[in-house]
């Protein structure tokens, strides 16, 4: 009992002190992957954060500064991520946690958010259940159900049979369940499925299995980045495109910044996703222009960059509305009202009941434009999509 009281007093004192100090500097703790095989993912998020801060200094109340303390989790390392989050809260006294490239990392840090009352803004991790793990979590990125369920529904109109190949962790399981529901509800048949280990997979045997089941389409999900390139390579090497088996999936598999490394194999691959760097709405054009100006014409932002960008926008909104004196519960109330009609990905908002992102989903095809492969948005499959998993399972 004494301990609870003591801890509570410390937390309250820190919050008050923080509220006092925040008249000057608001600290945000960002946990990203900046080293190891998946470093490009975190780098793309970090760049977006820094670019947003650079271009939006005028959006802060007078006298208020924002400082981002970045920590490297090295990949899907939930123990390390938890340790880093704990240190950010206890030692660096951050008022927001942000980043979270990977689902396991977000999930392990969630209890800290609740205990210390530090709002966590998820800028990437896409497993549906994450936002239910703490009332202080808000997500500005996406969920696998948002993209894979409409993908399944759409695919059922074009293909009779499908084979599912997903990575064996949270988002992969979500993608599998979501696609299966959409596809089978639409009358399609799943002829086989396989879960591929997350660490260092060799995709050939798995894609060979898929090929031998002779489906009309293979639905795949792997983490964006290097693994997307590897599975695309396997798809090409086994001659699946020539055998008439279409490769479909959420946009992770044709992630914008990796397309250049995939050769010509991805041409014609269809995906459903919330963001493509090739989208031609004005907000995106401005975003891409600013990105190129800062990071060079050869650099491409990814959907993770947009997640980070919009995440910062939400944080700045909360800071502005509270005039720099940030209180965790008020912050969460503000997040629940957050809307942005002009994000690079189109109109977005936060669902006040679930604290999860609401956005449009687009059907895209990989085409060659100006000598480079890009995801061309063909049509808007669904507008203002709320996370279907929570709706189906009645969860908040």
């Amino acid at each position: 009992m004494r301990y609870a009281l003591r801890t509570g007093t410390i937390v309250l004192a820190s919050v008050l002190c923080a509220a006092q100090a925040s008249a000057q500097t608001i600290k945000i703790g960002s946990v990203l992957t900046l080293s190891g095989p998946n470093a490009t993912l975190g780098e793309n998020m970090d760049r977006a954060i820094k670019l947003y801060m650079k271009l939006n200094q005028d959006k802060l109340p007078p006298g208020v500064k924002v400082e981002v303390i970045t920590r490297d989790d090295g990949g899907p390392n939930p123990d390390k991520a938890k340790q880093l989050s704990q240190e950010l809260i206890v030692r660096d006294k951050v008022q927001f946690l942000a980043g979270m490239t990977w689902t396991p990392n977000a999930m392990s840090s969630a209890p800290l958010s609740t205990e210390a009352k530090v709002p966590m803004v998820i800028m990437n991790a896409g497993t549906s259940v994450i936002t239910t793990m703490s009332p202080y979590i808000v997500r500005l990125s996406f969920t696998l159900w948002q993209s894979s369920l409409p993908m399944g529904t759409w695919a059922a109109k074009r293909f009779k049979t499908a084979y599912i190949a997903v990575s064996d962790f949270g988002p992969g399981h979500d993608a599998q369940a979501a696609f299966t529901k959409g596809f089978t509800d639409g009358g399609g048949k799943i002829v086989g499925e396989v879960r591929i280990p997350l660490a260092n997979p060799d995709f050939i045997p798995f894609m060979q299995r898929a090929k031998d089941a002779k489906p009309d389409a293979i639905f795949g999900f792997v983490p964006a980045g290097k693994q997307a390139t590897a599975i695309m390579k396997a798809y090409g090497e086994l001659g699946l495109d020539k055998a008439g088996v279409k490769f479909i999936g959420p946009g992770d598999i044709t992630t914008d910044e990796e397309l250049a490394n995939m050769g010509d194999v991805p041409l014609g691959v269809l995906t459903v996703f919330h963001y493509s760097a090739a989208a031609d709405r004005p907000a995106n054009k401005a975003f891409i222009a600013a990105w190129h100006k800062e990071y060079g014409a050869n650099s491409t932002p990814s959907f993770m960059s947009v997640g980070a960008w919009d995440g910062m926008d939400a944080i700045y909104y909360a800071i502005r509305e509270q005039k720099g004196k940030v209180d965790p519960d008020r912050t969460m109330e503000l997040f629940k009202q957050y809307k942005n009609a002009d994000s690079p990905r189109g109109p977005i908002s936060i669902d006040p009941e679930t604290r999860d992102i609401v956005q449009n989903e687009y059907l895209r095809e990989v085409r060659k434009v100006g000598g480079r492969l890009v995801n061309v948005e063909l049509e808007t499959v669904q507008t203002a999509v709320k996370d279907p998993w929570k709706i189906i399972n009645n969860k908040k």
């Binding site: 190891g36 095989p37 470093a39 260092n200 045997p205 299995r209 031998d212 290097k226 390139t229 490394n261």
Partner: protein, 291 residues
């Protein structure tokens, strides 16, 4: 039935390609350990280096593929001589623990250097046009590059075995592996022999790393991630033997691919269990001599 046969063939084929790569990389380790009793856990570093040499030569300097392969062999072999003279040679009489620690230290250093120079991304491998695509044989399609891997490795293996069986150098190696003290007393310069053999083994590892860059990705954490595979090949095959690791590598390559294909829910579990079983049954490996 047709389908089952087709998938068996496919699995055997891909597994053999993987197995050949594992062998080319690991044979140097087997000979080194049998020759000098030195546990070089950092052997994977040479394979990784070969992979980097190959990919850099091709993408940065536009070197044609065959030349790049040769470069991988030569550069890594030469570099290993330097390492051997400077560092390894001081530790031949050290305890097992010290050798293990030393080589782990080398791995850490190599990983850091690789990250520093090349960043954390996987190195993209750009194959020449004539090795891309599919190759038709008996009504089935095989990826051309894998066919090349199997063929090329078979040639290298043949050369190696010929060298060990027929040349004077090979005879000296076999003698020293059998009984080092005796070999020295009949006048074989074991130190120089070892340097030469070490260079050859490391060069082969580099060649294997470059050749297999498509299958076993070249990235800074390569020596850590694949250490278990190389060690399993050598341990199961038997130290100091040439044929043992060959059989072991093929078995592992095919078993690994087969398990991923037919039992994906078990992952690599069966391979490790099999390794344990084999090592308990024959602690010196399938073809090893010293118990």
């Amino acid at each position: 039935m047709q389908a089952v046969l087709a998938s068996v063939v496919s699995v055997a084929f891909h597994g053999a390609a993987l197995g050949m790569i594992l062998y080319v990389i690991s044979v140097g380790l087997s000979v080194t350990m049998g020759l000098m009793g030195f546990a070089n856990l950092a052997h994977g570093v040479f394979a990784m280096a070969g992979g980097y040499v190959l990919t850099t030569a091709i993408s940065r300097f536009g070197v044609p593929f065959p030349l790049a392969l040769a470069l991988a062999f030569v550069v890594v072999g030469a570099a290993s001589i330097v390492l051997e003279r400077l560092l390894y040679s001081r530790l031949y009489t050290a305890s097992d623990l010290e050798q293990v620690l030393f080589t782990i230290g080398l791995i850490f250093i190599a990983v850091a250097v690789a990250r520093f120079i090349y960043g954390t991304l996987q190195q993209p491998v750009v194959l020449p046009e004539y090795l891309k695509g599919q190759f038709s044989l008996l009504g089935r399609d095989f990826p051309t590059y894998r066919v090349f891997i199997i063929g090329f490795s078979a040639v290298m293996v043949g050369l190696l075995w010929f060298g060990v069986e027929r040349t004077r150098w090979g005879a000296m190696v076999r003698a020293t592996v059998d009984n080092r003290a005796m070999a020295q007393s009949v006048g074989i310069d074991t130190r120089r022999l070892f340097t030469l053999t070490f260079a050859l083994g490391s060069g082969l590892a580099g060649l294997g790393g470059g050749l297999g860059a498509e299958i076993i990705a070249i990235q800074p954490t390569y020596p850590f991630e694949n250490l278990v595979y190389f060690l399993v090949v050598v341990a199961v095959g038997g130290l100091g033997s040439l044929r043992g690791p060959f059989v072991a590598a093929l078995l592992i390559g095919i078993a690994d691919t087969a398990c991923k294909y037919w039992l994906p829910q078990f992952g690599a579990f069966p391979i490790y269990v099999a390794t344990i079983a084999i090592l308990l049954w024959r602690p010196a490996g399938l073809f090893g001599r010293h118990a």
